[in-house]
Every structure is written in structure tokens, then in C-alpha cells.
Amino acid sequence: MIEIVFLVPLATGALAFFLPRPSGRTLLTLTGAVHLPLSILLWVRQPEALFAEYFAVTPEGLLSLLVISLLFFLISIYTTGYLKTANIRSERVFTGSMLVFLSTMTMVTLSDHIMVMWIAIEATTLASAPLIYTHRSAATLEATLKYVLICSVGIALALLGSVLIALSMDVGGVNVPVAFSALAVVANRLDPLWLKAGFVFILVGYGTKMGLAPMHTWLPDAHSEAPSPASALLSGVLLNCAYLGIFKTNKIMHAAGLGHFSGTILIVFGLASILVAATFILKQTEYKRLLAYSSIENMGIIAFGTGVGGLAAYGAVLCLIHHSLIKSSLFLSSGNILLGYGSRLIDSTGALVRRMPRTFVAFFSGFAGISGFPPFGLFLGEVFILIGAFRGGHYVGAGVFIVSLCVIFAGFTNHVIKMSFSDAAAGDRVEEKPAMVWPQYALLLTSLVLCFWIPESLYETIVHAVNSIGGRL
């Protein structure tokens, strides 16, 4: 009965549309608090699905599910504080959409049928569009329209990719359910030409949603215009969900012996994303957009690592987990900064260390973490990807990777130092609510702990997931 994990938030989400404000907030945290133990239970027990044809527990799905669940719980605590401070007119729509969004993302992680996955990813778009439009201004409307338009084209292409994979079954004369697990078993009997075509369309389709360049143009707008808790969810977990679609298709490609083909394409898209992020981070004027471009960079790193394979694939999964933890903490901190300074411009902020010391600690450590510094886990992931790239003989790719990372670090440092220490916006100390600081600390602490100690079952799950896409330790 694994379906209950996404049915609970769906039900509470529907309820939240009708509840008055205070109960809606409680319901949000309560659902987060229920969802986390349910996910852990799923991890420990690994039960059968009621509709086994459509849903299944897979190692990569479990990893994403646990990240989603933990993040949502912490973000829901932050959100209760945020909603009291920020003035949001349509709060019921906001909380309801957050919960439905959680439900759809959970569904993505548990789906096994290729169409259920597709429907779930489309549903995430529908559930997150109202979140981006929360502030009801012309700018948010434009960001929402851009998001829906570009992602819809991506989803349409992913549908075409799914059709082509079904076609590869017909040409190859295979008769199994159109599910990822079933297809991986019979992969070598699928028609390779149509399978390749299907993979390309699915990569471009879900890659749009994942924010890979050159299909990333919606991402900076959507992530910067959405209220910060929503940005944290969009950036921290929605991108992972889209990656999961690519991961599972890549699994079929590897089982069919076409791993080299899919790897090359992933490397090209990954490097393109890192390069685009490096170009735009240098000249950025808004800090939320800065974080959004950093998400594009990290998605590029993950795609690159997945494409290289071997040790790099393991590094990519580590990056996936730690990027979620660190980036969501950064977006939550940026919410505090936005509430405190009332501006998204880097130039209008300053003296963060004196005016908001607690947020500063979270923001600055998050910045160190996202730049790939130890003791945060992203460091390990990136090192593994680099070693994997050198071992695999991808010297040019590794070179581009290192140079871009240096440029991004330089740009990021410049902006963060300005925000933290410059006297541009000096003034009195701003009040910081504990509920709006502790979630960030918890997220960063998790990343820090996971860098030094990975529980045995978590390690096994990662290795199990990575083995299916050509990863080796």
C-alpha cells in the first residue's frame, strides 16, 4: 500500500483550500510531520504497491522520496513563520497548492509505469504554477506564463519520447507492460533506433523541467518570482523529480547496451548548463536569480556526472542529495533577506552580518556548501565526478568543468561578500524568528553529517541505484 504516501498530502491539500488561515498552516506542518515517518516506513519495509503495474519502490525513487519528505517537513516549519510575516492575500490557495505539489512529487518518485511518471510530472507543473503566481503581480504572471509555456512544450516532447519507446517495443516485438522496471529487463530486445529517439525526446522534455541549458530560460524567472518557501521546493526537489524521469530512461538505455549514446548526450547538455550558469552568475544583480542560476549549474553537474558514469555517477547522486539540502536552505535564507530588506537587488542589501546575524550564518555556510567546500557533502560529490571524468578519459569535459566552477565561485563570492559585509544598506538589526532560521540550520547540518557518515542502508541504496546506470565504486 505504498500509494498512501501520496494520497495523504493530496487529501489534506484538497482540504486546505477550504480551511481558514491558522488551521491551514497547522495542516501544512502536520502533513509534513506525517509524510516523513511514512516515507521512512516505506524505506524500511519496502512494501508492495496496490497497483503494482503502475507504482513500485525503486532505490532511486526512495532516495528522492526521503529528500522530498525531509525538505518538505523543514520547509513547512519555515512556512508557518513566513506566512505570519509575509502578507500573502490568497493563503489558502498557497497552502493547498503546496500540499498538492508534495503529493504530485511523491507520485513521481513512486511511479513505475512510463505514463504514470509522465502524468505525475505534468501534475507537478499544474500544482506549482499557482505557487509562482502567489504575489499576483504582472512580473509573477509573466514568470508563470513563461514557466507553463516552456515546461508544457517540454512535457509534450516527453510524451512523444514515451510514444517512441512504446514504438520500439512494437518494432522489437516485445509484449510487456510499458513500465520502467519491465522494460529494463527486456531492454536488449527493444528496437535500438526508436529507443535512442525516445531517449533524446525524453531527455529534452524532462531536461526542460530539470533546467538543463538551453531549455532553462524559464527557471531564473520562476524561482526568483515565487515566494521563498516555494522557491526552495521548486529548486530543491522539483528539479530532482524531473531528473528521476531521465534517470529511469537512462537505466533502460544502459540495460540495452546504449549507455555510451545516452552518456554522450548527457555530458553535452550538462556542460552546456554549467557554462551558461557561469556566464550569467558573473553579472547577476538579484540574489534570488543568482541562486536560480546556481541550480542550473548543479543540474548540469549532475547530468555531466551521470553521463560520465563509473565513480562520477555515484558523485552525481551525492550531488543530487546535497544540492537539495543546501540549495533549499539558501532559498529559505534568501526569503529572510527579502523580508528584512524588501528588495531582491544585491545592491540594496548589505551588512547582513550585523543586521541579520543568524540568517547570515545560514546564508554564508550555505554559500560555502554550494560552492563545493568541505565539510559540506557537495564537495565529495564534485570530487568524485572529477575523478570519474579523468578515469573515463573525458579530459576536455573535466577541463571545462573545473574552469566553469572557478568562474562561478568567483562570481558567487563577489556577490555574497557584497551582501554580507558592505555598508550599502546599513541600519538597525532586523528581528529574526527562530522558526525561520532553524530549518536552514537543520538542512545544512544534515548535509554536513552526511559528508562524514552515511548510514549503511542509505549507502547501499545509493550504490544499488547507481549500478543500474553504469556506476562503479
Binding site: W118, L145, L149, V163, V171
Partner: protein, 213 residues
Amino acid sequence: MIQPVDTILALVLLSVLISFGSSRLPALIKVVAFQGVVVSIVPFFIGHGLTTGGVVFTLATLLIRGIAIPVFIYLAIKKTAIHREVEPIVGYHASLMAGLVLMVAATFVSPKFNLPQSAGNALLLPTAITLLAAGMFLLMARRNAIAMVLGYIVMENGIYLVGTGFSVRTHHIVEFGILLDVLAGVMIMAVILQNINQAFDDVDTALLRSLKE
């Protein structure tokens, strides 16, 4: 012998050219509506043993893509101040030329794919590829948001044809494409909201100007 399907598909190809040459939204809406109706009825002619569910889905697609969405857009542009001009980035003559090149290229590449049993319907795959590319072209080469949504629907039609033509399994998958229309609906709503907002903005600035004196 010319099959009825090929006649229908030839009409679809013609509608692509007309849509590339239309400068006003109402004309473009009519062309896309026509295309939606014609593409939706293709399964009735190819028929891989159409089940009752299949018939229902096909009729639903016809109703939504051929009638509901075009009427919705038509009413929307009548009620709000959405610009009627499609605001081309690529001019009409160049667009028509691109359309012709698309069709030739699609016809040229189609035989290169190994297909299960698309015997007889020589135009099916070329038309599907043309529609996909034409939809993308309208999305990129028109600045008007409604024209972009219409381009998106043309693309959906192309995907529908790819799935419908080849086998029962792909047909089942492509039936889910009906959910894409939900996204199209959301986009249209957003465009309408945007125009209402702009209308209010205009009123506001006019007020400020009159108060100044």
C-alpha cells in the same frame, strides 16, 4: 489507389501552410480548429480495432481540440483587448517558404525509419513530422502569446498523429495527450489575466495623469 486517410492528411498539410500565412488571430484559430477536427478523426480510418474506450477518447479529443479550445480562445480575444495581429518574428513569405521546406524534409526523412506496419498510409509520418516542426516554428516565430498557444496545439496534433498511426499500444499512450490540453487551458487563462492586468494598468496611469493637472 488513393486512400481516404491520405486525402485527409493532405488537407492537414494544406492547413499548415495556411496557418503559416495567417496574419490575424481569428483566421489562425479557424485553421487550427479545422486541423484539430481532421487530425482527431484519423483513428476512425486507420482503426487498429477501435474499442469503445478508444472511440470515447477520440471523440473527446475532437471535442476539446477541435471545438472547445478554439471557441474558448475566440471568445477570449473578443472580450479582452488581446492584439489580433500575430506579430511575426519571421515574415509571412519566409514562413511559407519554411513550411514548404519542412514538408519536403519530412517527406524525405520519413522512409528512413523502420516502421511496424504503416503500409499504405504514405503521408502519415511526413504529416506528423511536419505538424511537430510547424508547431515549434509557430512557437518560436510568433510574438503573440495566443499564437504561441495555437502553435503548441499544432504540436500536440503532430504527437497525436505519431501515436495514432502505428499501433494499438502507442495509440493508448497518446490518448493521455488529452491532458496536455489542460496545460494549454492554463496558458490561455494566464494570457487572459495578463491582458486584464495590462488593461487596469493603463487605466491607472491615465488617472495619475489627469490628477496631475
